[in-house]
Protein backbone atom coordinates (compact mmCIF):
# COMPACT_ATOMS: atom_id res chain seq x y z
CA UNK A 1 0.00 0.00 0.00
CA UNK A 2 2.73 2.44 0.92
CA UNK A 3 4.67 1.50 -2.16
CA UNK A 4 1.71 2.35 -4.31
CA UNK A 5 1.35 5.75 -2.72
CA UNK A 6 4.98 6.56 -3.38
CA UNK A 7 4.63 5.47 -6.97
CA UNK A 8 1.57 7.66 -7.40
CA UNK A 9 3.36 10.65 -5.90
CA UNK A 10 6.33 10.11 -8.19
CA UNK A 11 4.18 9.91 -11.29
CA UNK A 12 2.36 13.09 -10.25
CA UNK A 13 5.67 14.88 -9.83
CA UNK A 14 6.85 13.82 -13.26
CA UNK A 15 3.51 14.78 -14.78
CA UNK A 16 3.76 18.22 -13.22
CA UNK A 17 7.29 18.59 -14.55
CA UNK A 18 6.12 17.69 -18.04
CA UNK A 19 3.32 20.24 -17.86
CA UNK A 20 5.57 22.97 -16.51
CA UNK A 21 7.96 22.33 -19.41
CA UNK A 22 5.07 22.30 -21.85
CA UNK A 23 3.69 25.60 -20.58
CA UNK A 24 7.14 27.10 -20.74
CA UNK A 25 7.65 25.99 -24.35
CA UNK A 26 4.22 27.32 -25.23
CA UNK A 27 4.91 30.71 -23.71
CA UNK A 28 8.53 31.14 -24.85
CA UNK A 29 7.79 33.06 -28.07
CA UNK A 30 5.43 35.42 -26.26
CA UNK A 31 7.75 35.89 -23.28
CA UNK A 32 10.73 36.48 -25.51
CA UNK A 33 8.82 39.05 -27.55
CA UNK A 34 7.82 40.77 -24.34
CA UNK A 35 11.43 40.72 -23.14
CA UNK A 36 12.56 42.34 -26.38
CA UNK A 37 9.87 44.97 -26.13
CA UNK A 38 11.11 46.14 -22.73
CA UNK A 39 14.80 46.05 -23.52
CA UNK A 40 17.11 48.54 -25.15
CA UNK A 41 16.55 48.66 -28.92
CA UNK A 42 20.15 48.47 -30.08
CA UNK A 43 21.25 45.65 -27.81
CA UNK A 44 18.02 43.65 -28.00
CA UNK A 45 18.70 41.95 -31.29
CA UNK A 46 22.43 41.75 -30.97
CA UNK A 47 23.56 40.20 -27.69
CA UNK A 48 23.03 36.83 -26.05
CA UNK A 49 19.87 35.30 -24.67
CA UNK A 50 20.26 36.64 -21.15
CA UNK A 51 18.25 39.43 -19.48
CA UNK A 52 18.94 43.07 -20.23
CA UNK A 53 18.15 46.36 -18.63
CA UNK A 54 14.48 47.20 -18.34
CA UNK A 55 13.15 50.14 -20.34
CA UNK A 56 9.79 51.38 -21.59
CA UNK A 57 11.50 53.37 -24.32
CA UNK A 58 10.06 51.20 -27.11
CA UNK A 59 6.53 51.78 -25.88
CA UNK A 60 7.09 55.50 -25.68
CA UNK A 61 8.51 55.55 -29.19
CA UNK A 62 5.81 53.42 -30.77
CA UNK A 63 3.15 55.74 -29.35
CA UNK A 64 4.85 59.08 -29.95
CA UNK A 65 7.07 58.55 -32.98
CA UNK A 66 4.98 56.12 -35.01
CA UNK A 67 1.35 56.73 -36.00
CA UNK A 68 0.25 54.00 -33.60
CA UNK A 69 -2.69 55.99 -32.23
CA UNK A 70 -3.92 56.66 -35.76
CA UNK A 71 -3.77 52.92 -36.54
CA UNK A 72 -5.61 52.25 -33.31
CA UNK A 73 -8.31 54.74 -34.21
CA UNK A 74 -8.70 53.20 -37.67
CA UNK A 75 -8.95 49.71 -36.22
CA UNK A 76 -11.53 50.79 -33.65
CA UNK A 77 -13.65 52.61 -36.24
CA UNK A 78 -13.46 49.67 -38.61
CA UNK A 79 -14.31 46.99 -36.06
CA UNK A 80 -17.13 48.93 -34.42
CA UNK A 81 -18.62 49.87 -37.79
CA UNK A 82 -18.43 46.28 -38.97
CA UNK A 83 -19.98 45.01 -35.78
CA UNK A 84 -22.96 47.36 -36.01
CA UNK A 85 -23.49 46.53 -39.68
CA UNK A 86 -23.11 42.76 -39.35
CA UNK A 87 -25.13 42.45 -36.15
CA UNK A 88 -27.89 44.72 -37.41
CA UNK A 89 -28.37 42.63 -40.52
CA UNK A 90 -27.77 39.25 -38.91
CA UNK A 91 -30.11 39.73 -35.94
CA UNK A 92 -33.24 40.33 -37.98
CA UNK A 93 -32.31 37.62 -40.47
CA UNK A 94 -31.59 35.01 -37.81
CA UNK A 95 -34.83 35.91 -36.04
CA UNK A 96 -36.71 35.23 -39.24
CA UNK A 97 -34.90 31.93 -39.74
CA UNK A 98 -35.69 30.88 -36.20
CA UNK A 99 -39.34 31.94 -36.00
CA UNK A 100 -40.88 31.79 -39.45
CA UNK A 101 -41.32 28.69 -41.57
CA UNK A 102 -41.10 29.97 -45.09
CA UNK A 103 -40.51 28.33 -48.44
CA UNK A 104 -36.88 27.40 -49.08
CA UNK A 105 -35.83 28.05 -45.48
CA UNK A 106 -33.83 24.86 -45.02
CA UNK A 107 -32.33 25.13 -48.48
CA UNK A 108 -31.15 28.67 -47.83
CA UNK A 109 -29.67 27.72 -44.47
CA UNK A 110 -27.73 24.90 -46.09
CA UNK A 111 -26.62 27.15 -48.93
CA UNK A 112 -25.30 29.65 -46.38
CA UNK A 113 -23.14 26.93 -44.81
CA UNK A 114 -21.70 26.06 -48.21
CA UNK A 115 -21.02 29.70 -49.02
CA UNK A 116 -19.30 30.05 -45.68
CA UNK A 117 -16.94 27.25 -46.64
CA UNK A 118 -15.63 29.33 -49.51
CA UNK A 119 -12.29 30.81 -48.44
CA UNK A 120 -12.55 34.56 -48.90
CA UNK A 121 -8.96 34.81 -50.13
CA UNK A 122 -10.03 33.06 -53.30
CA UNK A 123 -12.50 35.74 -54.30
CA UNK A 124 -10.28 38.55 -53.09
CA UNK A 125 -9.16 39.40 -56.60
CA UNK A 126 -12.74 39.60 -57.85
CA UNK A 127 -13.64 41.90 -54.96
CA UNK A 128 -10.48 43.92 -55.57
CA UNK A 129 -11.41 44.45 -59.20
CA UNK A 130 -14.99 45.34 -58.35
CA UNK A 131 -13.89 47.83 -55.72
CA UNK A 132 -11.41 49.37 -58.07
CA UNK A 133 -14.17 49.91 -60.61
CA UNK A 134 -16.46 51.51 -58.04
CA UNK A 135 -13.74 53.51 -56.33
CA UNK A 136 -14.14 51.69 -53.01
CA UNK A 137 -10.47 50.81 -52.61
CA UNK A 138 -8.74 52.65 -49.80
CA UNK A 139 -12.00 53.38 -48.04
CA UNK A 140 -13.21 52.25 -44.64
CA UNK A 141 -16.73 51.82 -45.98
CA UNK A 142 -15.51 49.31 -48.56
CA UNK A 143 -13.67 47.21 -46.01
CA UNK A 144 -16.59 47.35 -43.58
CA UNK A 145 -18.89 45.93 -46.25
CA UNK A 146 -16.44 43.09 -46.96
CA UNK A 147 -15.95 42.24 -43.29
CA UNK A 148 -19.64 42.50 -42.43
CA UNK A 149 -20.49 40.26 -45.37
CA UNK A 150 -17.97 37.64 -44.40
CA UNK A 151 -19.09 37.55 -40.76
CA UNK A 152 -22.80 37.75 -41.59
CA UNK A 153 -23.35 34.03 -42.20
CA UNK A 154 -21.49 33.03 -39.06
CA UNK A 155 -23.52 35.53 -37.03
CA UNK A 156 -26.82 34.35 -38.51
CA UNK A 157 -26.11 30.72 -37.59
CA UNK A 158 -24.83 31.60 -34.17
CA UNK A 159 -27.79 33.81 -33.28
CA UNK A 160 -30.33 31.48 -34.83
CA UNK A 161 -29.05 28.73 -32.56
CA UNK A 162 -29.75 30.90 -29.54
CA UNK A 163 -33.13 32.20 -30.73
CA UNK A 164 -34.19 28.56 -31.16
CA UNK A 165 -33.71 28.02 -27.43
CA UNK A 166 -36.03 30.89 -26.44
CA UNK A 167 -39.54 29.44 -26.00
CA UNK A 168 -42.17 30.68 -28.44
CA UNK A 169 -44.77 30.99 -25.66
CA UNK A 170 -43.29 34.24 -24.42
CA UNK A 171 -43.88 35.85 -27.78
CA UNK A 172 -47.31 34.35 -28.21
CA UNK A 173 -48.38 35.87 -24.93
CA UNK A 174 -47.34 39.32 -26.01
CA UNK A 175 -48.95 38.80 -29.39
CA UNK A 176 -52.26 38.31 -27.63
CA UNK A 177 -51.58 41.59 -25.88
CA UNK A 178 -51.50 43.14 -29.33
CA UNK A 179 -47.83 43.80 -29.87
CA UNK A 180 -46.74 44.03 -33.50
CA UNK A 181 -44.03 41.75 -34.84
CA UNK A 182 -41.35 44.38 -34.81
CA UNK A 183 -42.02 45.81 -31.36
CA UNK A 184 -42.02 42.24 -30.09
CA UNK A 185 -38.61 41.65 -31.58
CA UNK A 186 -37.15 44.82 -30.10
CA UNK A 187 -38.91 44.79 -26.71
CA UNK A 188 -38.99 41.11 -25.84
CA UNK A 189 -36.74 38.90 -27.95
CA UNK A 190 -33.65 41.07 -28.15
CA UNK A 191 -33.33 41.61 -24.38
CA UNK A 192 -33.70 37.86 -23.87
CA UNK A 193 -31.01 37.12 -26.45
CA UNK A 194 -28.63 39.73 -25.09
CA UNK A 195 -25.85 37.31 -24.04
CA UNK A 196 -25.76 35.66 -27.45
CA UNK A 197 -25.81 39.02 -29.21
CA UNK A 198 -22.95 40.33 -27.09
CA UNK A 199 -20.80 37.24 -27.60
CA UNK A 200 -21.43 37.14 -31.35
CA UNK A 201 -20.73 40.85 -31.59
CA UNK A 202 -17.46 40.46 -29.72
CA UNK A 203 -16.44 37.66 -32.08
CA UNK A 204 -17.08 39.94 -35.05
CA UNK A 205 -15.01 42.58 -33.30
CA UNK A 206 -12.10 40.17 -32.75
CA UNK A 207 -12.31 38.99 -36.35
CA UNK A 208 -11.90 42.51 -37.71
CA UNK A 209 -9.19 43.39 -35.18
CA UNK A 210 -7.20 40.31 -36.25
CA UNK A 211 -7.69 40.61 -40.00
CA UNK A 212 -4.61 41.63 -41.94
CA UNK A 213 -4.86 40.36 -45.52
CA UNK A 214 -7.75 42.47 -46.80
CA UNK A 215 -6.53 45.37 -44.68
CA UNK A 216 -3.07 45.32 -46.25
CA UNK A 217 -4.33 44.65 -49.78
CA UNK A 218 -7.21 47.13 -49.91
CA UNK A 219 -5.86 50.04 -47.89
CA UNK A 220 -3.04 51.52 -49.89
CA UNK A 221 -2.76 54.88 -48.20
CA UNK A 222 -0.59 55.17 -45.09
CA UNK A 223 -3.05 57.19 -43.03
CA UNK A 224 -5.82 54.60 -43.54
CA UNK A 225 -3.70 51.78 -42.06
CA UNK A 226 -5.18 49.66 -39.34
CA UNK A 227 -3.09 48.15 -36.55
CA UNK A 228 -2.61 45.08 -38.72
CA UNK A 229 -1.30 47.16 -41.60
CA UNK A 230 0.96 49.15 -39.30
CA UNK A 231 2.44 46.13 -37.59
CA UNK A 232 2.96 44.45 -40.93
CA UNK A 233 4.85 47.51 -42.11
CA UNK A 234 7.03 47.67 -38.99
CA UNK A 235 8.10 44.07 -39.34
CA UNK A 236 8.62 44.31 -43.09
CA UNK A 237 11.21 47.05 -42.54
CA UNK A 238 14.48 45.22 -42.51
CA UNK A 239 15.93 47.27 -39.66
CA UNK A 240 16.31 45.71 -36.27
CA UNK A 241 15.49 49.18 -34.91
CA UNK A 242 11.89 48.90 -35.97
CA UNK A 243 11.71 45.29 -34.84
CA UNK A 244 11.89 46.21 -31.18
CA UNK A 245 9.16 48.75 -31.91
CA UNK A 246 7.27 45.95 -33.59
CA UNK A 247 7.45 43.74 -30.51
CA UNK A 248 6.15 46.59 -28.35
CA UNK A 249 3.29 47.19 -30.80
CA UNK A 250 2.55 43.45 -30.91
CA UNK A 251 2.21 43.38 -27.12
CA UNK A 252 -0.11 46.41 -27.14
CA UNK A 253 -2.28 44.94 -29.91
CA UNK A 254 -2.58 41.54 -28.23
CA UNK A 255 -3.44 42.64 -24.70
CA UNK A 256 -7.06 43.75 -25.32
CA UNK A 257 -7.72 40.61 -27.35
CA UNK A 258 -6.20 38.39 -24.64
CA UNK A 259 -8.40 40.00 -22.00
CA UNK A 260 -11.56 39.65 -24.08
CA UNK A 261 -10.67 36.09 -25.03
CA UNK A 262 -10.28 34.88 -21.49
CA UNK A 263 -13.53 36.62 -20.51
CA UNK A 264 -15.64 34.92 -23.16
CA UNK A 265 -13.57 31.74 -23.46
CA UNK A 266 -16.35 29.36 -22.53
CA UNK A 267 -18.62 30.83 -25.19
CA UNK A 268 -15.88 30.63 -27.81
CA UNK A 269 -15.99 26.85 -27.83
CA UNK A 270 -19.75 26.51 -28.17
CA UNK A 271 -19.89 29.35 -30.67
CA UNK A 272 -17.21 27.83 -32.85
CA UNK A 273 -18.78 24.43 -32.97
CA UNK A 274 -22.27 25.80 -33.47
CA UNK A 275 -20.99 27.91 -36.33
CA UNK A 276 -20.13 24.74 -38.24
CA UNK A 277 -17.47 24.93 -40.89
CA UNK A 278 -16.19 28.41 -40.11
CA UNK A 279 -12.47 28.64 -40.79
Amino acid sequence: MRKRKIRQALSLISLNTVFLALCFITLVPVLYAFLLSVSDGSSAFAGGVGPRSFTLENYRRIITEEPFLLWLKNSVVLSLGTMVLAMGFATTASYAFSRYRFKGRMKILFLLVLLNAFPQILSMFAIFRLFKTFGLLDSNAGLMIVYAGSMCIFSIWNLKGYFDTIPMEIEEASKIDGASDFTMLVKIVLPLARPAIIVTGVMVLIFVWNEYLFATTFLLNGDKYTLAGGLYQLQANDYSRSWSLFTAAAVLVSIPILIIFFCIQKYMVSGLTAGGVKG
Binding site: L12, N16, F19, C23, T26, L27, P29, V30, A33, L36, F45, G48, V49, F89, T92, A93, Y95, A96, F97, F102, R105, V113, L114, L115, A117, F118, P119, I121, L122, S123, M124, F125, A126, I127, L130, I145, A148, G149, S150, C152, W209, N210, Y212, L213, T217, L231, Y232, Q235, A236, D238, S240, F246, T247, A250, V253, S254, I257, L258, V277, G279
Partner: protein
Protein backbone atom coordinates in the same frame (compact mmCIF):
# COMPACT_ATOMS: atom_id res chain seq x y z
CA UNK B 1 -53.12 40.59 -44.54
CA UNK B 2 -52.08 37.06 -45.42
CA UNK B 3 -49.68 38.28 -48.10
CA UNK B 4 -48.12 40.69 -45.67
CA UNK B 5 -47.61 37.85 -43.25
CA UNK B 6 -45.87 35.85 -45.95
CA UNK B 7 -43.58 38.72 -46.84
CA UNK B 8 -42.40 39.38 -43.29
CA UNK B 9 -39.57 36.81 -43.13
CA UNK B 10 -38.27 38.01 -46.47
CA UNK B 11 -38.37 41.59 -45.23
CA UNK B 12 -36.30 40.58 -42.21
CA UNK B 13 -33.75 38.62 -44.22
CA UNK B 14 -33.50 40.95 -47.21
CA UNK B 15 -30.72 43.24 -45.86
CA UNK B 16 -28.55 40.27 -44.90
CA UNK B 17 -29.16 38.58 -48.24
CA UNK B 18 -28.23 41.78 -50.05
CA UNK B 19 -24.99 42.03 -48.11
CA UNK B 20 -24.11 38.36 -48.60
CA UNK B 21 -25.05 38.69 -52.25
CA UNK B 22 -22.69 41.60 -52.79
CA UNK B 23 -19.73 40.38 -50.76
CA UNK B 24 -19.86 36.62 -51.17
CA UNK B 25 -22.14 35.35 -53.94
CA UNK B 26 -21.37 37.90 -56.62
CA UNK B 27 -17.57 37.70 -56.22
CA UNK B 28 -17.76 33.90 -56.50
CA UNK B 29 -19.78 34.19 -59.71
CA UNK B 30 -17.43 36.87 -60.97
CA UNK B 31 -14.45 34.63 -60.18
CA UNK B 32 -16.12 31.84 -62.15
CA UNK B 33 -16.55 34.24 -65.06
CA UNK B 34 -12.92 35.43 -64.92
CA UNK B 35 -11.80 31.80 -64.88
CA UNK B 36 -13.22 31.46 -68.39
CA UNK B 37 -11.30 34.44 -69.78
CA UNK B 38 -7.70 35.24 -70.57
CA UNK B 39 -7.59 38.17 -68.15
CA UNK B 40 -4.04 39.04 -67.05
CA UNK B 41 -1.86 42.10 -66.63
CA UNK B 42 -1.75 42.75 -70.40
CA UNK B 43 -5.42 42.04 -70.83
CA UNK B 44 -6.78 44.05 -67.93
CA UNK B 45 -9.65 45.52 -69.96
CA UNK B 46 -9.63 43.83 -73.36
CA UNK B 47 -9.90 40.23 -72.15
CA UNK B 48 -12.14 37.74 -73.91
CA UNK B 49 -13.67 34.32 -73.24
CA UNK B 50 -11.36 31.39 -73.90
CA UNK B 51 -13.51 28.54 -72.62
CA UNK B 52 -11.92 25.99 -70.33
CA UNK B 53 -8.30 26.79 -71.30
CA UNK B 54 -7.36 27.87 -67.76
CA UNK B 55 -8.75 24.69 -66.25
CA UNK B 56 -6.83 22.62 -68.78
CA UNK B 57 -3.67 24.51 -67.98
CA UNK B 58 -4.09 23.98 -64.24
CA UNK B 59 -5.01 20.32 -64.39
CA UNK B 60 -3.20 18.91 -67.40
CA UNK B 61 0.07 20.81 -67.60
CA UNK B 62 2.46 19.60 -64.92
CA UNK B 63 4.55 22.77 -65.13
CA UNK B 64 1.64 24.96 -64.04
CA UNK B 65 2.46 23.87 -60.50
CA UNK B 66 -1.13 23.26 -59.44
CA UNK B 67 -0.85 19.49 -59.24
CA UNK B 68 2.23 19.60 -57.05
CA UNK B 69 0.46 22.22 -54.91
CA UNK B 70 -2.36 19.73 -54.38
CA UNK B 71 0.21 17.18 -53.26
CA UNK B 72 1.77 19.64 -50.82
CA UNK B 73 -1.63 20.59 -49.45
CA UNK B 74 -2.59 16.97 -48.81
CA UNK B 75 0.76 16.29 -47.13
CA UNK B 76 0.42 19.47 -45.07
CA UNK B 77 -3.09 18.60 -43.91
CA UNK B 78 -2.24 14.97 -43.15
CA UNK B 79 0.96 15.72 -41.21
CA UNK B 80 -0.61 18.52 -39.21
CA UNK B 81 -3.79 16.67 -38.36
CA UNK B 82 -1.95 13.50 -37.43
CA UNK B 83 0.56 15.14 -35.11
CA UNK B 84 -2.06 17.47 -33.70
CA UNK B 85 -4.54 14.75 -32.76
CA UNK B 86 -1.77 12.59 -31.33
CA UNK B 87 -0.25 15.30 -29.15
CA UNK B 88 -3.56 16.81 -28.11
CA UNK B 89 -4.82 13.40 -27.02
CA UNK B 90 -1.90 12.76 -24.68
CA UNK B 91 -1.83 16.30 -23.32
CA UNK B 92 -5.55 16.14 -22.60
CA UNK B 93 -5.12 12.73 -20.95
CA UNK B 94 -2.38 14.22 -18.78
CA UNK B 95 -4.60 17.12 -17.82
CA UNK B 96 -7.24 14.70 -16.65
CA UNK B 97 -4.87 12.60 -14.57
CA UNK B 98 -6.10 12.01 -11.04
CA UNK B 99 -4.71 14.40 -8.43
CA UNK B 100 -3.36 17.04 -10.80
CA UNK B 101 -4.10 20.10 -8.70
CA UNK B 102 -2.76 22.78 -11.04
CA UNK B 103 -4.93 21.66 -13.94
CA UNK B 104 -6.71 24.99 -14.33
CA UNK B 105 -3.45 26.93 -14.33
CA UNK B 106 -1.91 24.69 -16.97
CA UNK B 107 -5.03 24.87 -19.08
CA UNK B 108 -5.12 28.66 -19.01
CA UNK B 109 -1.44 28.94 -19.90
CA UNK B 110 -1.78 26.42 -22.72
CA UNK B 111 -4.70 28.40 -24.17
CA UNK B 112 -2.48 31.42 -24.77
CA UNK B 113 -1.54 30.82 -28.41
CA UNK B 114 -5.20 30.44 -29.28
CA UNK B 115 -6.04 33.83 -27.80
CA UNK B 116 -3.27 35.72 -29.60
CA UNK B 117 -4.20 37.44 -32.87
CA UNK B 118 -3.01 34.97 -35.52
CA UNK B 119 -1.07 37.40 -37.67
CA UNK B 120 0.69 38.81 -34.60
CA UNK B 121 1.77 35.31 -33.57
CA UNK B 122 3.08 34.48 -37.01
CA UNK B 123 5.02 37.73 -37.34
CA UNK B 124 6.40 37.32 -33.82
CA UNK B 125 7.61 33.82 -34.66
CA UNK B 126 9.15 35.10 -37.87
CA UNK B 127 10.99 37.99 -36.26
CA UNK B 128 11.76 36.59 -32.80
CA UNK B 129 12.17 32.86 -33.35
CA UNK B 130 13.05 31.89 -36.92
CA UNK B 131 15.06 34.93 -37.94
CA UNK B 132 18.52 33.62 -38.78
CA UNK B 133 20.44 36.58 -37.31
CA UNK B 134 18.46 37.62 -34.24
CA UNK B 135 16.02 34.77 -33.69
CA UNK B 136 15.92 32.97 -30.37
CA UNK B 137 16.34 29.55 -31.98
CA UNK B 138 19.67 30.47 -33.52
CA UNK B 139 20.80 32.19 -30.33
CA UNK B 140 20.23 28.94 -28.49
CA UNK B 141 21.96 26.99 -31.26
CA UNK B 142 25.05 29.22 -31.19
CA UNK B 143 25.10 29.24 -27.39
CA UNK B 144 25.28 25.45 -27.57
CA UNK B 145 28.17 25.73 -30.02
CA UNK B 146 26.33 24.97 -33.26
CA UNK B 147 26.30 27.00 -36.45
CA UNK B 148 23.43 29.28 -37.37
CA UNK B 149 20.67 27.60 -39.34
CA UNK B 150 18.50 29.14 -41.96
CA UNK B 151 15.02 27.90 -41.20
CA UNK B 152 13.03 29.46 -43.98
CA UNK B 153 15.34 29.37 -46.98
CA UNK B 154 14.72 25.83 -48.13
CA UNK B 155 11.59 23.81 -48.59
CA UNK B 156 11.97 21.01 -46.07
CA UNK B 157 13.08 23.13 -43.08
CA UNK B 158 10.50 25.76 -43.99
CA UNK B 159 7.77 23.14 -44.15
CA UNK B 160 8.80 21.92 -40.70
CA UNK B 161 8.93 25.48 -39.39
CA UNK B 162 5.41 26.13 -40.69
CA UNK B 163 4.23 22.85 -39.16
CA UNK B 164 5.69 23.70 -35.75
CA UNK B 165 4.03 27.11 -35.85
CA UNK B 166 0.73 25.65 -36.96
CA UNK B 167 0.85 23.13 -34.12
CA UNK B 168 1.64 25.90 -31.66
CA UNK B 169 -1.37 27.86 -32.86
CA UNK B 170 -3.85 25.03 -33.32
CA UNK B 171 -3.14 22.66 -30.44
CA UNK B 172 -5.00 24.67 -27.75
CA UNK B 173 -8.33 24.29 -29.52
CA UNK B 174 -7.79 20.55 -30.01
CA UNK B 175 -6.71 20.06 -26.38
CA UNK B 176 -9.83 21.88 -25.19
CA UNK B 177 -12.06 19.74 -27.38
CA UNK B 178 -10.52 16.44 -26.32
CA UNK B 179 -10.40 17.55 -22.70
CA UNK B 180 -14.13 18.25 -22.82
CA UNK B 181 -14.80 14.91 -24.47
CA UNK B 182 -12.75 13.01 -21.88
CA UNK B 183 -14.80 14.46 -19.05
CA UNK B 184 -17.97 13.09 -20.56
CA UNK B 185 -16.79 9.49 -20.28
CA UNK B 186 -18.53 7.45 -17.61
CA UNK B 187 -15.96 6.73 -14.88
CA UNK B 188 -17.53 3.35 -14.09
CA UNK B 189 -16.26 2.05 -17.43
CA UNK B 190 -12.69 2.49 -16.19
CA UNK B 191 -13.45 0.94 -12.85
CA UNK B 192 -14.68 -2.26 -14.38
CA UNK B 193 -11.70 -2.29 -16.74
CA UNK B 194 -9.37 -1.90 -13.76
CA UNK B 195 -11.06 -4.85 -12.07
CA UNK B 196 -10.25 -6.96 -15.08
CA UNK B 197 -6.66 -5.78 -15.01
CA UNK B 198 -6.59 -3.65 -18.17
CA UNK B 199 -3.45 -1.56 -18.68
CA UNK B 200 -3.09 1.98 -20.00
CA UNK B 201 -3.03 1.07 -23.69
CA UNK B 202 -5.92 -1.35 -23.40
CA UNK B 203 -8.01 1.30 -21.67
CA UNK B 204 -7.09 3.82 -24.34
CA UNK B 205 -7.94 1.59 -27.26
CA UNK B 206 -11.07 -0.06 -25.92
CA UNK B 207 -12.64 2.67 -23.81
CA UNK B 208 -11.24 6.18 -24.25
CA UNK B 209 -10.85 6.38 -28.01
CA UNK B 210 -14.22 4.83 -28.93
CA UNK B 211 -15.95 7.07 -26.39
CA UNK B 212 -14.48 10.37 -27.51
CA UNK B 213 -14.50 9.66 -31.24
CA UNK B 214 -18.06 10.78 -32.00
CA UNK B 215 -17.66 13.85 -29.78
CA UNK B 216 -14.49 15.17 -31.32
CA UNK B 217 -15.29 14.15 -34.90
CA UNK B 218 -17.01 17.46 -35.81
CA UNK B 219 -14.23 19.63 -34.39
CA UNK B 220 -11.55 17.40 -35.93
CA UNK B 221 -13.21 17.76 -39.32
CA UNK B 222 -13.53 21.50 -38.83
CA UNK B 223 -9.84 21.71 -37.96
CA UNK B 224 -8.97 19.62 -41.00
CA UNK B 225 -10.79 22.17 -43.18
CA UNK B 226 -9.01 25.04 -41.47
CA UNK B 227 -5.65 23.34 -41.96
CA UNK B 228 -6.46 22.59 -45.58
CA UNK B 229 -7.32 26.27 -46.13
CA UNK B 230 -4.40 27.56 -44.06
CA UNK B 231 -2.85 30.52 -45.83
CA UNK B 232 -1.51 32.97 -43.28
CA UNK B 233 1.33 30.86 -41.87
CA UNK B 234 2.95 29.93 -45.15
CA UNK B 235 2.34 33.34 -46.68
CA UNK B 236 3.60 35.45 -43.78
CA UNK B 237 6.58 33.24 -43.00
CA UNK B 238 7.94 32.69 -46.48
CA UNK B 239 6.11 34.70 -49.13
CA UNK B 240 5.69 38.26 -47.93
CA UNK B 241 5.79 40.81 -50.67
CA UNK B 242 9.34 42.06 -51.06
CA UNK B 243 10.89 39.62 -48.60
CA UNK B 244 10.77 36.14 -50.04
CA UNK B 245 12.84 33.81 -47.92
CA UNK B 246 13.81 31.36 -50.63
CA UNK B 247 11.54 28.46 -49.75
CA UNK B 248 8.92 27.74 -52.35
CA UNK B 249 6.28 25.75 -50.50
CA UNK B 250 3.05 26.14 -52.39
CA UNK B 251 -0.32 24.94 -51.16
CA UNK B 252 -3.30 25.40 -53.42
CA UNK B 253 -4.45 28.50 -51.58
CA UNK B 254 -1.09 30.26 -51.74
CA UNK B 255 -0.91 29.14 -55.37
CA UNK B 256 -4.19 30.87 -56.17
CA UNK B 257 -3.16 33.98 -54.26
CA UNK B 258 0.24 34.17 -55.92
CA UNK B 259 -1.24 33.88 -59.39
CA UNK B 260 -3.71 36.65 -58.64
CA UNK B 261 -1.53 39.14 -56.81
CA UNK B 262 2.07 38.39 -57.79
CA UNK B 263 2.27 36.90 -61.26
CA UNK B 264 -1.04 38.43 -62.39
CA UNK B 265 -2.50 35.36 -64.09
CA UNK B 266 -6.02 36.32 -63.08
CA UNK B 267 -7.69 33.77 -65.34
CA UNK B 268 -5.61 30.86 -64.08
CA UNK B 269 -5.94 31.95 -60.46
CA UNK B 270 -9.71 32.15 -60.77
CA UNK B 271 -9.90 28.72 -62.38
CA UNK B 272 -7.88 27.29 -59.50
CA UNK B 273 -10.14 29.08 -56.99
CA UNK B 274 -13.23 27.52 -58.49
CA UNK B 275 -11.56 24.09 -58.46
CA UNK B 276 -10.68 24.50 -54.76
CA UNK B 277 -14.25 25.54 -53.99
CA UNK B 278 -15.42 22.41 -55.79
CA UNK B 279 -13.11 20.25 -53.69
CA UNK B 280 -14.32 21.90 -50.47
CA UNK B 281 -17.99 21.42 -51.38
CA UNK B 282 -17.38 17.75 -52.20
CA UNK B 283 -15.56 17.29 -48.92
CA UNK B 284 -18.22 18.96 -46.81
CA UNK B 285 -21.09 17.05 -48.41
CA UNK B 286 -19.12 13.84 -47.93
CA UNK B 287 -18.17 14.50 -44.30
CA UNK B 288 -21.67 15.75 -43.41
CA UNK B 289 -23.10 12.47 -44.63
CA UNK B 290 -20.45 10.56 -42.68
CA UNK B 291 -21.22 12.46 -39.49
CA UNK B 292 -24.94 11.95 -39.84
CA UNK B 293 -24.57 8.22 -40.32
CA UNK B 294 -22.30 7.97 -37.32
CA UNK B 295 -24.79 9.77 -35.12
CA UNK B 296 -27.87 7.84 -36.20
Amino acid sequence: MKNRKKATPWLYTLPAFLLIGIVIVFPILYTAYISLTNMNLYHWNDFHLIGLENYKRALLKADSGFLSAIGTTILWTAVNMGVQLFLAYFIALGLNAEGLKLKRVYKTLLMFPWAMPAYVSILLWKVCMFNSEFGLLNKVVTALGGTKLNYLSENVPAFLACTVLNLWMALPFMIMMIDGALQSIDASLYESAMMEGAGFWQKSIFITLPCIRPIIAPSAIMTAFTTFKQFDIIYLLTKQKGSLTGASIQTIITYAHENAFVSNNYGLSSAVSILIFGIIILFSVFTNRGLKEENS
